[in-house]
């Protein structure tokens, strides 16, 4: 057992820290509005130019060939200096691992460098109006068009995060309506500027137009936009879902940084001297949230030790997803209690503490137990596939 990083890894950390401290923008507006999104893309391009946008990718695609350990270090440093959420995340953290695993060489060369550079911005097309937790119940169809060599899509996707601002969507479409539920689906990559695509923004709980509905009316996609095999989309999608539940989307650095900010908030509130009994009564809650972030970091170190040796997380990634999403909610709830009557002030209010970031963080955290498979679905997966309970 060795919980230290090598000198080379520490040098990597120092290099990342130095660049991030000099370059991370302060006070960017939310990336889930049209204006905010444009500013975030500018930041993503800056990250790319300094080759920090996708550190774990091979150099030929714009990365640094960094190890998983170095990726964790980069994430720690990124969030430690207050780096903004990555509006490219659905591409770089979810689609990219799937392209690396299932994509053709042409697809890798065509999509990965532009994704790294934030030239292409990707959103996910999973949920449909009648298929949320029951993803295999999707109805959107892609019909074979032999003449043009491709597929013609009809249907609707919904709750598509940042769909109103992205230019590509990836998702599952039913290509064999006669097949059994989990068969007959194909993973397609669809340009949102293709004829027949209509995107309608939907305002989210937190007031941002971060969601979209995407309608497909006879949208043609050519065969080179099929990821993995035709009618084999379910297996390909499960690889993406595993990345979403597991550590690539939500690195511990992000929660450890939030926990450190919570400790700092407690100290500031205590120093301010208002409502001392309430601040005092929240000491254990602050400690609990800090420890949960730390426990997530430690569990990730165990997982990555295994991954480096080729031991996959498998269904245990569902435990990970439940844990980070629930700790995020509790952490932000504790912060709001520390703010007392100021908790309800949002970013446009002059007296909002920390620019209203805690209410924003709370609202964002509330989506965690819902997206990427609700935590109820995750608990079923844990019971059935980790503990071995019967499905029926």
């Amino acid at each position: 057992m060795d919980l230290t990083f090598t000198p080379a890894e520490e040098a990597f950390r120092a290099e990342a820290r130095e660049w991030l401290e000099a370059n991370v923008p302060v006070g960017l507006p939310s990336g889930d509005t049209a204006e905010g999104f444009a500013l975030h893309v500018e930041w993503e391009k800056k990250l790319f130019e300094a080759r920090w946008s996708v550190v774990s990718w091979p150099e030929e695609f714009g990365g640094r060939g960094a190890s998983l350990w170095e990726w964790l270090i980069f994430e720690e440093e990124y969030y430690r200096v207050g780096g903004p959420q990555r509006v490219t995340q659905n591409g770089i953290f979810l689609l990219a691992p799937t392209i690396f695993e299932f994509g053709t060489d042409e697809q890798k060369e065509r999509f990965l460098p532009r994704m790294a550079a934030a030239d292409d911005l990707w959103c996910q097309g999973w949920s449909e109006p009648d298929a949320g937790s029951d993803l295999a119940g999707i109805k959107s169809r892609a019909a074979r068009d032999d003449e043009r060599g491709g597929w013609v899509i009809n249907g609707q996707k919904t709750w598509t995060t940042r769909g109103a601002f992205c230019n590509w969507v990836f998702g599952l479409f039913r290509t064999d309506p006669e097949a059994a539920r989990h068969s007959g689906m194909t993973y397609l990559l669809v340009p949102l500027d293709a004829p027949g695509v209509t995107v309608r923004g939907v305002e989210r709980l937190d007031g941002d137009e971060g969601f979209a509905e995407v309608f497909f009316d006879d949208v043609f996609v050519s065969d080179d936009l099929v990821l993995g095999g035709v009618n084999e989309g379910w297996g390909v999608a499960m690889a993406t879902a595993s990345s979403e539940r597991g550590l690539t989307l939500r690195s511990p650095g992000r929660f450890c940084a939030a926990a450190d900010r919570l400790v700092d908030l407690w100290k500031r509130q205590a120093a301010a001297g208002e409502y001392p009994e309430r601040i005092d009564s929240l000491r254990s809650d602050v400690a609990q949230s800090w420890m949960e972030a730390e426990a997530y970091r430690l569990a990730t170190l165990v997982d990555v030790t295994g991954l480096v040796k080729g031991v996959s997380q498998g269904a245990r990634s569902s435990l990970t997803k439940i844990y980070w999403s629930e700790l995020d909610v509790k952490l932000n709830e504790t912060a709001l209690r520390l703010l007392g009557p100021a908790a309800e002030l949002i970013e446009t209010s002059p007296d909002a503490v920390d620019g209203g970031a805690w209410m924003k963080g709370f609202e964002f955290a509330l989506s965690g137990p819902i997206y990427a498979g609700t935590n109820e679905i995750q608990r079923n997966v844990v019971a059935e596939r980790v503990l071995g309970l019967p499905r029926k």
């Binding site: 254990s284 426990a295 430690l298 165990v302 030790t305 844990y323 309970l389």
Partner: protein, 339 residues
């Protein structure tokens, strides 16, 4: 970075686990409840023979000279099999304390006996009202303020207390300084006592992980087997979610316990915080797991004919000894917020 045990450590752990599986089955735990002494000397002697009892004793005194990273996985197995004898006190706390803090004469007097299994040691730090296993101990290490003493067991007057866990043997004790040898005093004694407390807490946390894992295993086996409405009750979502919550708690307590072992073994500057986090999470996990295990067993789990209650009661006892979750959470809060 390598947050895992070595092959050798896992092999040692598996060997001890197999030993407990054979020598400490549930019938043996039941015997420990019913028997007046409740401890059998042959199991302790066999563990000494395997090197478990002398694990933390330096090789110069006949021990293995190993540390917490080697020891805690073994204590997890002791917890899994609800082994009741004082491994935490003798192996995790007293042997390292004597090694680090005792004058040569005292170390030479007691450590070889610990290593060969002939000396069973127990401990009482300030704020610990009761002592485990005084009835079979040969040596008591006790704290009085800024002094730590070694007292041969024949000079200790003890009054039995009765634990909810009938396999535990707790005592209130009295002793006179005239019969005691001073081990260490002053600031060094306070530091030694703090380190001893951290070791006891981390070792108990490791046992709680094993207890929790076993309660989950027993419950999974039960809900797969038990049928109601014509199907296994484990197919019901409410039952699944109870067990998923239990697994979640243990899964995120376990790495905290290994990190505490690493911190103790490597003299981490943050060891108090690391240990308190481990005990806080392990205690919380065991309490949640115990509740879920009982609920999923239903009425059969509420009997003493079923074995589950041995694990429930050991969990309750250990969750609150060496500092309960709330105590350790407050300690972490102090270290984070008052620095």
């Amino acid at each position: 970075m390598q947050f895992a045990f070595t092959e050798d450590q896992l092999l040692f752990r598996d060997t001890v686990a197999e030993f407990f599986a054979n020598e400490c089955p549930p019938e043996k735990v039941r015997w420990s409840w019913d028997d007046a002494v409740g401890r059998d000397a042959s199991t302790w002697a066999a563990l000494a023979e395997m090197g478990v009892i002398g694990l933390t004793v330096p090789e110069a005194f006949g021990g293995m000279g190993m540390n917490e990273i080697d020891l805690l996985p073994i204590l997890t197995e002791a917890g899994r099999y609800a082994y009741p004898a004082p491994l935490v006190e003798t192996v995790a706390v007293v042997a390292p304390l004597l090694t680090e803090s005792a004058p040569a004469a005292i170390a030479e007097k007691w450590l070889p006996g610990i290593a060969d299994g002939s000396v069973i040691a127990t401990v009482q730090l300030d704020d610990q009202p009761f002592v485990n296993d005084m009835h079979i101990a040969n040596l008591l290490i006790a704290q009085r303020g800024d002094q730590l003493f070694a007292i041969p067991a024949e000079h200790v007057r003890s009054t039995p207390q009765v634990s909810v866990d009938g396999a535990r043997r707790l005592f209130s004790i009295e002793w006179d300084e005239a019969d005691a040898e001073l081990v260490v005093s002053g600031e060094a004694a306070l530091q030694a006592a703090n380190r001893a407390f951290d070791r006891g807490a981390a070792a108990t946390a490791a046992q709680l992980i094993g207890l929790s894992e076993q309660m989950i295993a027993m419950t999974v086996a039960y809900v797969v087997d038990r049928k109601q409405f014509g199907v296994p009750i484990g197919s019901f979502q409410a039952v699944k979610h109870h067990l998923a919550d239990a697994e979640l708690k243990v899964s995120f307590a376990r790495p905290a316990v290994w990190a505490a072992a690493y911190g103790l073994a490597n003299g981490s500057a943050d060891v108090d915080r690391e240990v308190s986090m481990a005990k806080c999470f392990a205690s919380d996990a065991a309490e949640v797991v115990a509740r879920k295990a009982l609920q999923n067993h239903g009425a059969i789990g509420y009997t003493t004919e079923h074995d589950l209650h041995f694990w429930l009661k050991r969990s309750w006892a250990l969750a609150s000894s060496w500092g309960d979750a709330a105590w350790h959470r407050r300690r972490v809060a102090h270290l984070l917020l008052d620095a």
